[in-house]
Amino acid sequence: MENSRRSFLKVAGITALGVGTKPVLNVFASSGGHVEEPKPEVSKNEKALTAKKWGMVIDTRKFHSAEDLEPIIDACHKIHNIPELPEPRHKIMWLWEDEYKHVFTHREHELVNDRIKHLPFLVLCNHCEKPACVRACPTKATFKRDDGIVLMDFHRCIGCRFCMAACPYGSRSFNFRDPRPFIKEENKEFPTRMKGVVEKCNFCAERLAVGKLPACVEASNGAITVGDLDDPESEVRELLRTNYTIRRKPDLGAGPSVYYIV
């Protein structure tokens, strides 16, 4: 076959047309007639307990000795998989007891009355209004939620312990060793921690999310109350209105959300 310029241009033209229409057809093919699936959504559990600003009131008049506090501490430590480490310096504490002179250092004096002097006080993270730990954390592993709860994202903690140095209440513990072998009964509903992360009380955020009160509240027979500090009608506000309460080291300006009736 003899190739003329004319026949070459014909073939070239048809080829160009064919190549050019393919993408245009593709666009038409993908646009009409195809229904997109609705986007997935995330939401809160309907039963979740919410507040504008969570707070806690501990009625220390209802406690008389360390035995009264034990079941409360046990309840907390059990559901959060807290290990029992043999070395006291490695102890992990979310909720624990201490005496007046250590808890209320700025109020302590030699002649404080007998009941207070020997009374064990429950101490925990104060879920401060202006938490020093959150400012100190370099990875934002510790953060304050909109509802006032100071939480930890264990995934992000690098174990630098700046938060432990920053916290004026000593509310944080560091996992110097793998806690797994020291957990008596594992609660499958809550993860454990690994070596090298800091941990502390989380105000039972995982329980509030499914409509349950914090474990310590449930175990306290009414001695501990939690509620919304921003709601004048709430139970905690009623307790604060009708009783004289103190907070730990308020002059530091951290604004702790745990109140003690003494």
Binding site: E37, P38, K39, P40, E41, V42, S43, K44, N45, A48, F143, R145, D147, L151, D153, F154, H155, E186, K188, E189, F190, P191, T192, R193, M194, A205, A209, V210
Partner: protein
Amino acid sequence: MYDKNKIVAGLVIFIAIVTFPFWYNLGNASSAPEPKLSEKAKVAKECVMPKESIKSEHMQVLDLWRDTVVRDANRIYKSGSGKTFNMSLSTGEESCMGCHESKAEFCDKCHNYASVNPYCWDCHIAPKEKPKENK
């Protein structure tokens, strides 16, 4: 060329040694493992996303979920098809492991093959493996 025989022989031996790993393992390549679905997962039929997306994106999904749950306190996931799930790796019936009941049969199959070691299980408690029947 001088010493042609010696050079050729040497070259043949050299190439044989260099390519040894290739022809020694020829045909021995194991096929990619398929994760084994638990009975529960087979019954449920659908996951949080279509199978292909969950295969390629489950790590991003888990990463996103942990931020959503821990930081925003949103724990309920409603998939495109309208089914709701508990956004959790290892806690509760509607979590990942609530349905995919065996870590060894589901997660580890591919992770071991691909030699990836995610640190999920340093903290999250894996469901108890059921003992194998014929052992």
